[in-house]
């Protein structure tokens, strides 16, 4: 078997193979009566370029996978039992998107009430959604699903993988509490709506948004109930106040980011900022206040344009955040492209890859499980036919928990 593998490597070295995907099940495997196709859950992936996203220098490397986990990573692995060997050009960790609405169906925002912190995105995910296929095709293996932010306490985020059986793909249901500290909740109001209609709500301005957070938290802190909301809402906000539940605030302008931190300080919780378009304007203050940001503005445009709420887009905010040593990650649509452009705009290759893999995993508190290629991590991997950060490179396949999905047949 070893000899066979060796020959494979020789053939590879001969330079004859431009297409590097190689797929085989070794004879002993068949002899043992195991599934010839993807049934085997043991893989040896040999990559010309292995990007572990954990600070190790990239170079040739091999990854051994068994039971949906990475069992071994090294320059050369000798496996003496049956295994499926795959050769690829580049291998990187599965992409982690901390700000996604993947699979959310039937309306993504509650529009009848402002305070619905107990609404759980996990209960509204359509698992058969095309979103998941698209995500797999783009190399995304884990997403945090966040409700739209048209109500002040928008609901709960959940974290799921983009493929697998339902039990296996759920990492956290009923997760982080989502707050909207932005103009979003005011957007649903109609100037001359019927007083009893769902379009006639408070807040009608951004001051009201902050006021709702403050007044709700005040009531909870003084042992009361949140006005007009379910008792469950009160319990949930209590958890946030007691530091038992994480929170995030969707804020884009500098003053909203500041407000989110202010209201957090007032009540003793620390929301992670999601959006963060204008964080570059208050970098020093943000750093001093131990802010963390999930930056999504790069997704919107590489051309010159404005974000929502009229924020002027800036290209190299990630570079500034790294310079200031502020914990951050990239999030939102087309994450691999975001990393590519972040690299174009100033990040190093390593920093750009980390910004969509290990860094979001850290921000989600899951760095012991996803985001890097290391022993005992989930086998979430992306194989490419070239440097991941070059626009000419395509994704060959995406592996989630040891299973391969989204083979791009065009490249075979």
């Amino acid at each position: 078997m070893h000899r066979f593998v060796f020959e494979l490597a020789e053939w590879h070295k001969s330079g004859a193979c431009a297409i590097v995907l190689f797929w085989t099940t070794l004879i002993p495997c068949a002899a043992l009566g195991q599934d010839k196709d993807t049934g085997s859950d043991r893989f040896l992936i040999r990559a010309k370029h292995l990007y572990c996203a954990n600070g190790q220098k990239d170079g040739p490397g091999e990854v051994f996978i068994s039971g949906g986990k990475i069992k071994f990573v090294g320059p050369s692995i000798d496996v003496s039992s049956p295994v499926t060997i795959i050769e690829v050009d580049s291998l990187m960790p599965g992409i982690v998107d901390a700000y996604s609405s993947l699979g959310l169906t039937g309306g993504t925002s509650e529009v009848s009430r402002e305070i619905t912190p107990e609404f759980d995105t996990y209960s509204a995910i359509y698992w058969g959604s095309r979103d998941f296929l698209e995500a797999l095709g783009d190399g995304v293996t884990t997403v945090q699903v966040i409700p739209a932010t048209e109500s002040v306490f928008s609901g709960l985020a959940c974290i799921v993988k983009t493929a697998g059986d339902l039990g296996g793909r759920t990492i956290a249901s009923s997760g982080t509490a989502v707050l909207a500290v932005s103009s979003d909740p005011t957007s649903r109001n109609r100037a001359r709506a019927r007083p009893d209609g769902i379009y006639m709500r408070q807040p009608t301005n951004r001051m009201g948004v902050v006021w709702i957070i403050r007044s709700s938290m005040n009531r909870v802190r003084s042992g009361g109930n949140v006005a007009g909301a379910d008792p469950l809402s009160t319990d949930l906000l209590k958890e946030v106040l007691q530091g038992k539940r994480k929170s995030l605030a969707v804020s884009r302008t500098d003053f909203d980011i500041r407000s989110a931190l202010d209201v957090g300080d007032e009540f003793g919780f620390k929301p992670i900022i999601y959006g963060g378009d204008e964080v570059y304007r208050i970098l020093d203050e943000f750093k001093k206040r131990d802010g963390q940001v999930v930056y999504t503005a790069l997704a919107r445009s590489a051309a010159t344009s404005r974000g929502s709420e009229g924020t002027a887009l800036r290209w190299n905010v990630p570079g500034k955040l790294i310079e200031a040593q502020i914990p951050f990650c990239l999030a939102g649509e087309s994450l691999l492209d975001q990393a590519r452009f972040a690299c174009r705009f100033g990040l190093s290759h390593e920093q750009a890859l980390a910004a969509i893999t290990s860094r979001p995993a850290e921000m989600l508190g899951l760095s012991d499980r996803i985001g890097t290629i290391a022993t005992e991590m989930d086998a979430d991997l992306v194989a490419l036919n070239g440097d991941p950060l070059q626009p000419t490179s395509g994704i060959l396949w995406t592996m989630v928990s040891g299973k391969i999905y989204g083979n791009d047949k065009s490249k075979q």
Partner: protein, 469 residues
């Protein structure tokens, strides 16, 4: 009187003194003007780019070569080009030099892309091109040196396209071709596809009949002809060229005096249509989806049009049909997207460049959203080309598809699109390989003049070093 006499005398004396002086002065001025003109020449003096990797598009790349530019044209290109002493030399060591990109179809340069009247063949985009438009600035920044400015995709017969260089103070400085082709859109802006096509046919028939009459030796009054046949459209009279928005707001009474002009524009419109039907001028035909392509092909054979197909995203379904014509088509800016089959609910990733490659239809790209919301990357030609490479195209072909191929498609390849002796010196100095993510346009040169320098681009600096203002 005496006094006056004196004065006259003095004046005469002064004049006498001035005369030789003025001669001398004239001399100096002449000399000065000569000097300025030579210094002007010096600015236009030969320009040499030395030591760069040159991708001429036609022929193999030159690993380290020199390009010599004189009077806006490429005078020499190669490994061992002798640089004249008076030449200004740009050190291109470590850089890559290639021809500027050619944009075969865009409406972003126009202040407003679509006319509200749907049949306006007499209009010309030249009247709506703003040389200081953000579009041109972005062009120079991103390496586009020539562009076909074409009326938008929502007007049935949208008017005349023009081809321009992307730098200049006035439109006339930029113009390469004034009447570069008629724009026709098969996307119904109002009504349905049946009436859209019927209206289009009616216009083309008018032109066809006029041509037939001319061939028989009859001299029809082009302007009055439609009226005689009672074919005048029931719409309000069409307006002359110019600011159509304003005239729209005018009342009917105020519009009355314009009737003469209107007849003139009708005549001009008929002329434009005749050129299209005679095949003297290309027709940019926008097809929104596959069925439009079928209709367009029908029109092309019926009226003998010379088409340039501008395709919407879902036209990939008609790739096989287009293959028979063996013509370069212009693809939509969105090259990769997902579709769900409404009947089978099957989800499918559509990779447009791959489909057209398989069908053997040559294609060029469009970009989208200079300034507007867009997906990452599709604002840039190099990125579009890189996407095609991702899905199987060779890098050489992809580079051709953003330079020479679009130039050929719009008929300016005798001037631009490749680096060859005698062609316009429209070229880019890049920091690295054209399709790499980390490559930037360092300098853009149009007709031998540096029109963009990254080191002087304050906007890029602001974007890359964001600070609070």
């Amino acid at each position: 009187m005496d006094h006056g006499k004196w004065q006259n005398l003095r004046e005469r004396q002064e004049q006498a003194m001035i005369k030789p002086f003025s001669k001398w002065f004239a001399c100096v001025t002449a000399l000065l003007s000569l000097m300025t003109s030579t210094s002007h020449l010096a600015a236009d003096a030969p320009l040499a780019i030395q030591g760069a990797k040159i991708i001429p598009v036609v022929g193999d790349p030159i690993p380290i070569g020199t390009i010599l530019i004189r009077d806006g044209k490429i005078e020499a290109i190669g490994k061992d080009v002798v640089i004249p002493g008076e030449a200004k030399v740009i050190d291109g060591t470590g850089k890559v030099v290639m021809p500027g990109f050619v944009d075969a179809h865009n409406s972003a340069a126009m202040t407003s892309a679509n006319e509200r009247n749907e049949i306006v063949p007499f209009l010309s985009v030249v009247d709506s091109i703003d040389p200081v438009a953000a579009y041109f600035e972005e062009c120079r920044r991103n390496g586009i040196t020539s562009a076909a400015v074409v009326p938008g995709n929502s007007t049935l017969i949208g008017g005349q396209a023009a081809i321009v260089k992307t730098a200049g103070q006035y439109v006339n400085d930029m113009l390469l071709k004034r009447d570069a082709g008629l724009k026709i859109s098969l996307r119904p802006a109002s009504g349905n596809r049946m009436s859209q096509l019927a209206r289009l046919r009616k216009e083309l028939d008018k032109a066809k009949k006029a041509i037939e009459k001319e061939a028989k030796g009859e001299k029809p009054d082009a302007a009055s002809e439609p009226k005689k046949e009672g074919e005048e459209t029931p719409k309000p009279p069409e307006k002359p060229e110019g600011n159509t928005e304003e005239s729209k707001d005018e009342s009917g009474a105020e519009r009355q005096p314009d009737n003469a002009n209107d007849a003139a524009s009708q005549a001009a419109g008929l002329e434009a249509l005749k050129k299209a039907v005679k095949g003297e001028q290309p027709v940019y035909i926008y097809c929104e989806n596959g069925m439009d392509v079928t209709a367009a092909l029908q029109l092309v054979s019926e009226y003998g049009l010379k088409p340039i197909f501008v395709l919407g995203p879902s036209c990939y379904k008609a790739a096989e049909l287009l293959a028979k014509r063996n013509e370069t088509v212009i693809l939509d800016a969105s090259l990769v997207f997902w579709e769900t089959n409404p009947r089978t609910r099957e989800d499918k990733k559509i990779i447009v460049p791959q489909i057209f490659r398989t069908a053997k239809v040559p294609f060029v790209f469009q970009t989208e959203g200079f300034g507007a919301r867009t997906s990452l990357g599709s604002s840039f030609f190099w990125y579009q080309a890189a996407t095609a490479v991702k899905y199987g195209m060779s890098e050489k072909e992809a580079i051709e598809a953003i330079t020479l191929l679009p130039a050929k498609r719009i008929g300016i390849d005798n001037l631009v699109g490749s680096l060859e002796v005698g062609k316009d010196a429209d070229l880019l100095i890049l920091t690295g390989e054209p399709l790499s993510i980390s490559t930037w346009v360092e300098q853009t040169i149009i007709q031998g003049k540096v029109v963009y320098e990254r080191s002087k681009d304050d906007k890029i600096k602001r974007l890359l070093a964001p600070v609070a203002e």
